[in-house]
């Protein structure tokens, strides 16, 4: 591999030791070596990427430097619209869909000189925690091909872990960036709600969805965020105020900070290796001068329950647009209603169907207040719990996932067991707060373990400050054996 991080690749590009075309060729070669085993990508746009890489090289030669992502190959989860390149959201219902526009995050990446190399696999409409719900077949974990990469952004996490891409983007509605990043041993970050535009992101649950980067290092994550966030008039929930500098605290260390260890995110359901690695990292941070406190956020116990009412409710509404009329699959019927019902029954896979039914039920007359309405009150109580915790501590930490990567097929028959994979991640989505997963160790079987750092809204500078120290303390080597050592 020419470069082991985006930041290093950026330096090599500017010193003339590599070119955007070389970086892309290397990424494509790695992908062609590993894809048969991993299936991280749904589409690789070799021609389009080569043109973009050639342009990036020509621009640099002309003295035009578009920033830290200039000339860097980037993979995008296939729920972000790319003009002229098929975008399926992992669903049969969108097979062959060619968006007539770019998502804002894609526009920003292109104007930042990034080279969009392809679209990565995901659970259908980002609903899942293992990438096994893709209509196009599952992705496998580069650390152990019999295991899942996590999900729903499993293709993006696997591509970065395998070295097929220096940087990828995912979306996180209830852990879908952080959990696969944890299971694949890479860095995954969900920004504050409203900071990265959702325009052109195929919606799952609009009040929870956020796009964010998956990278090999914490610094790369900050550079990727800096390029893609910012106010966008095309997204009415986009934040118009001042944004922090995510890089500002990377070298600052953590002395004097107060860190809260979340009591509710430990114990039953958490693997001993995950708990031991988390405890060890907290002890290391304490040695670096942080003050550690145990913090209880009691509503975390019912966060998962609230999430599985709110997210499906929003999904049932958002996915009403897939009706067989304007785009995607169509199964004919004698009436419009019959056409829609047939198209949707055939086009949606089982998990999406399940969540649409769940959401429709919890919004329906007679059940709304007991389910959806009450879930919204829990969401408010979670926000209040967070606010109280942040009066005592600067950031909160926990494992990213209660377990390491699980065996393919292990949880597909039990939706609730699958949902429990995201128990550590969901509170930050419900509150709209930023959170990051940093790989810290491997267990006895050699599978990666991630550490989650959560921060208050717009607390990205502080979050990255702590994440950078976690990364230094962990000295984690990204070397997934299933695809050969990539470093």
């Amino acid at each position: 591999m020419i470069a082991t991080s985006l930041a290093e690749a950026a330096r090599l590009l500017r010193s003339g030791e590599t070119s955007a075309v070389d970086l892309l060729s290397e990424a494509l070669a790695t992908a062609s070596r590993t894809e048969a085993q991993l299936h991280a990508f749904l589409t690789i746009d070799t021609d389009g990427a080569m043109v973009a890489a050639g342009q990036a090289d020509a621009d640099l030669a002309d003295g035009i430097d578009r920033g830290p992502l200039h000339g860097i190959p980037v993979a995008l989860k296939d729920n972000m619209c790319t003009r002229g390149v098929e975008t399926t959201a992992g669903s049969q219902i969108l097979a062959g869909y060619i968006p007539p526009y770019d998502a804002t995050v894609v526009t920003r990446l292109r104007s930042g000189g990034a080279v969009v190399m392809g679209k990565t696999n995901l659970d259908e409409f980002a609903m899942g925690s293992s990438t096994e719900n893709s209509a196009y077949g599952p992705t496998y974990n580069p650390w152990d091909l019999s295991r899942v990469p996590g999900g729903s952004s499993g293709g993006s996490a696997a591509a970065v872990a395998a070295g097929s891409s220096l940087l990828a983007f995912g979306s996180d509605t209830g852990g879908s960036i952080r959990q696969p990043s944890s299971l694949c041993g890479v860095v995954g970050m969900k920004p504050t709600y409203g900071t990265v535009s959702r325009y052109g992101l195929i919606a799952f649950a609009s009040s929870l969805d956020q796009i964010g980067p998956i990278s090999r290092t914490v610094e790369d994550s900050a550079l990727a965020l800096e390029t893609t966030w910012g106010h966008d008039p095309l997204d009415s929930t986009s934040y118009p105020g001042d944004y922090p500098d995510p890089k500002a605290g990377l070298e600052r260390g953590v002395e004097g900070l107060r860190i809260g260890v979340v009591t509710e995110l430990s114990g039953e359901g958490f693997e001993p290796s995950v708990e031991a690695a988390t405890t060890d990292m907290v002890a290391r941070l304490e040695k670096e001068g942080v003050e550690v406190r145990e913090v209880s956020l009691p509503t975390f116990e019912i966060a998962l329950s609230a999430y599985y009412l709110i997210a499906p409710a929003e999904a049932s509404s958002n996915l009403a647009r897939f009706d067989g009329i304007r785009y995607g699959l169509r199964v004919d019927g004698a009436t419009t209603e019959e056409l829609m019902a047939r198209t949707r029954a055939e086009g949606f896979g089982p998990e999406v169907t399940r969540r649409i039914l769940l959401g429709t039920y919890s919004l329906s007359a007679g059940y709304y207040d007991a389910f959806y309405g009450q879930a919204q009150r829990v969401r408010a109580a979670i926000q209040e719990d967070f606010a109280r915790a942040y009066e005592q501590v600067d950031v909160l930490v926990s494992p990213t996932s209660p377990t390491v990567a699980f065996e393919a097929g292990a949880r597909t028959a039990d939706p609730l067991a699958m949902y429990l994979s995201d128990i550590c991640n969901i509170p930050a989505n419900l509150a709209g707060h930023p959170a990051i997963s940093v790989p810290i160790a491997v267990d006895d079987a050699g599978l990666p373990i991630g550490f989650q750092v959560m921060a208050p809204p717009l607390g990205e500078e502080l979050m990255y400050q702590v994440a950078a120290e976690v990364e230094r303390q962990a000295a984690f080597a990204l070397s997934p054996p299933a695809v050969g050592a990539v470093q």
Binding site: S305, T336, M340, F348, L358, Y361, G432, P457
Partner: protein
């Protein structure tokens, strides 16, 4: 607490044309999930009022100005059936 689900009604509301066996399977799974989800009803204390946006945003407005839209031909190219600049759907009303 067993949860009452009229699954055929829910499927109809969601415009999902599912067979009887599928409906029964989904009904059983929804029962398990909703039983877990019903834990939200354990929340006590003062009424909790959710913030509409974590950064306190409410409505976003823009100037009401003309601007280019997506190209009609490009949009209709994605339609399963289009004719003369229109989407084609089955008749919604009886025609005498």
């Amino acid at each position: 607490m067993p949860i009452e689900i009229d699954i055929a009604h829910v499927a109809r509301l969601a415009r999902l044309g599912l067979g009887d066996e599928e409906l029964e399977a989904y009904k059983a799974q929804l029962g398990v999930i909703l039983e877990h989800a019903a834990r939200v009803q354990s929340l006590e204390g003062e009424p909790h009022v959710e913030a509409a946006h974590p950064l306190g945003l409410a409505n976003a407005f823009r100037e009401d100005e003309l601007r280019p839209s997506l190209d009609r031909g490009e949009v209709l190219a994605q339609a399963p059936v289009a004719l003369d600049g229109y989407f084609v759907v089955p008749p919604a009303m009886e025609i005498e």
